[in-house]
Symmetry: C2
Amino acid sequence: MLSDSMRVFITVADKKNFSKAAKALSLTQPAVSFQIQTLEQYYQTMLFDRVNRHVKLTAAGELLLDYAVHMNNLQAELERNMQQLTGHVKGELLIGASTTIGEYILPYVVGSFKHDYPDVNVTIQIMNTKDIANAIRNKTFDLGIIEGPLDHSESMEVHKFLEDELVLAIPADHPLASKESITLDELKELPYITREPGSGSRLIFEQALIDADFDIENLNVVMELGSTTSIKSAIMGGLGISTISKWAIQDLLKTGKVAALNIDGLTLKRNFNIILNKEKFQSEATGKFLDFLDVDNINRILES
Amino acid sequence: MLSDSMRVFITVADKKNFSKAAKALSLTQPAVSFQIQTLEQYYQTMLFDRVNRHVKLTAAGELLLDYAVHMNNLQAELERNMQQLTGHVKGELLIGASTTIGEYILPYVVGSFKHDYPDVNVTIQIMNTKDIANAIRNKTFDLGIIEGPLDHSESMEVHKFLEDELVLAIPADHPLASKESITLDELKELPYITREPGSGSRLIFEQALIDADFDIENLNVVMELGSTTSIKSAIMGGLGISTISKWAIQDLLKTGKVAALNIDGLTLKRNFNIILNKEKFQSEATGKFLDFLDVDNINRILES
DNA sequence: AAAACCAATAAAATTTTCTAATCAAATTGT
DNA sequence: ACAATTTGATTAGAAAATTTTATTGGTTTT
C-alpha cells in the first residue's frame, strides 16, 4: 500500500493542478495542499513550482514521481496476485463504451458479472470512439468497447467482440413486416428516419448504399433523430422505419412489436471491438471481466 | 513512502511476534494487532497463522512480504537519491563498534560528523565482534567497526580503517617512563594488570608473547580487570602497568600522565576494520559517514 | 496449579487529516 | 482598466484514524 500522500502527489503531477487533483480524489483543495506540503517538508524541498495558472514538477518532483509510479505499479501487481491467491476479486472497473453496447449489451453483462464478483465496482461511461480511445491511452479507463475499428495506434490492443448488424426495423403491424427482406426499391417508398450526421450507424448505412450504387437522395427521409432510443420510439409510434442495430431492438423483437428485415444487396455488418492499453497493468477485475466477455458467455447471458 | 501498516507488517514478519514488533516500532501491541487486522481485512485473508507461542506467515503473507520488501527497498533508494539531489542528508545511522573504537575514537568522529550533518541521528552501540557481525548480516545496523579481522563470510564487505597498537602504559613518574621501550625481562618484574580472558586485547598480547617464545606464566599478574577504563584507573592509581590500545590512552599521553612504551620483540599491532552488508541498500547518511571515515580525515579530527 | 506469555477486544485519548470559509495573487474577458 | 474567475495558501474547527490503556482468554512453561 502506497501512502496517501504519494497517491495525492501522483494525481497532482498528473493533473498539474491542485484543485483538479482534489476533485479527482474526492478531496478538497486544502487537503491536497496539505499532503503536498507534508511531502515537501519531509524531503525538505519543493516538489512543484507554483507558477501562474498551473503547477510544474521540480527536479525533485520528477525524481519522486518516478519512484511513486514505480511503487504504484508494484502495488497494482501485488493487488492482482493477492486476488488471484485468495479468490477475492474486488476493486474498480472503468469501462468506456459506445452507445449501443453501453445501453443494450453491457447492462446485462455487468449484471451477470456483478453476480459472480460482487465486490467489483463497475462503471460504464458512454462516449464516442475517439474519447474512449483517448481514455484508454491515458490509462483513465480499464477497457473500452467500441463500434467499428480503431485507427491503428501503438500500445493499443484490440480484440474482436460481438458482431453487430444493422437491420431494418419495421412495426410488426406493417404490411411488409412478415417478409424476410426487402429490396432497395421497396425501401425508397418507406418513410425513413435517420440518425444525425457523423453517427456511426448512419455512416455504415450510407457507405453500404454507396457501395450498392444507390443514391442517398432517393431515400424518403422523414425525420432526423439524435439517439437510438428516440428512433425506437418513433418507429413504435408509426412515424417511420430505420436501420438500427439488432442489439438495440432485442426487446422489441422478443415482444413481437417490431420485425427486423434485411435489405437485399446491402451488407450492414460491423464488429464491436474491445480495446486495451498494452502498457497498463491489468487488475484482476479487468482480467476476469475480459474472460467474461467471451462470446459464448455473452450469448448465454443475453439469451436468458 | 510506504504506508504505516506495511511497515508494521514487515516488522511483525521479521520478529514473528506481535509484542516484539510493537516494541521495535515503539508502539503498543494492540496498535500492531490493529494494523495487521486492517491489512487482513483489506486483502480479505489471514496474513499470519497465530499458532501457539509464535506467528507464522501464510501464503498470502509471504506474497505480501515479498512486495513489501521490494517497495521498502525502492523507498530507501528514493530517499538516497532525493538527499543527493537536495543535499539534505538526514535519517538514522546505526553503528556497531568494539569497545576501544566506540569509546575513544567514534565519539570525536561522530561529533564532527554531526556538525556537518546535523539531521543525521547517529547511534553507537558497543558490542563484541560476533554480535556486530550478526547485526550487519541482519541489516539491523548500517555499519560496524571491529577490532581485528572477520571470519570470512559471504555478503560482507570489509574495509581497513585505522591501525591500532597496544603499548605498555606506565605512570609518568615511574622510573622506566622515560625509556622508549623495555625488554621482556624488564617486563617480568613489573606488576602487570590483565584484561579478562577472551578480551581482544588480551588475546593479541598473549599471542605476541607466544610468538616471542615467552612463557605467560612468567608475567607478574597482579590484577584482572574487565574494562579499559578500569585498567586506566588502576594504572593511574599506581597499582600496576598494562598493555593497552594507544587510542585508549590518548588523553593520558597528552596530559603527560602516562608514558607509552614499546616492548622489544613484540608486535602488538592490529587493524580496525569497517564492515558492511553488501546486500543492504546504503542510505546517503551511511555513504557520507563512510566518506568521513577516510583515514586522513580521522587523523585531522583526532588531532584537534 | 501458578506464572508467564501472547494476541484479541473495548473504550478512551490522541493525533492526523479533512472541510469550510477566507484570502491574496494572477489571469481572463469585456 | 475593471470585474469575474481561477488557483493555491491559511486557519480554525470537525471528523476520522490511530494509538494507548486496561482487560480478557487461551496457551505454554515451570
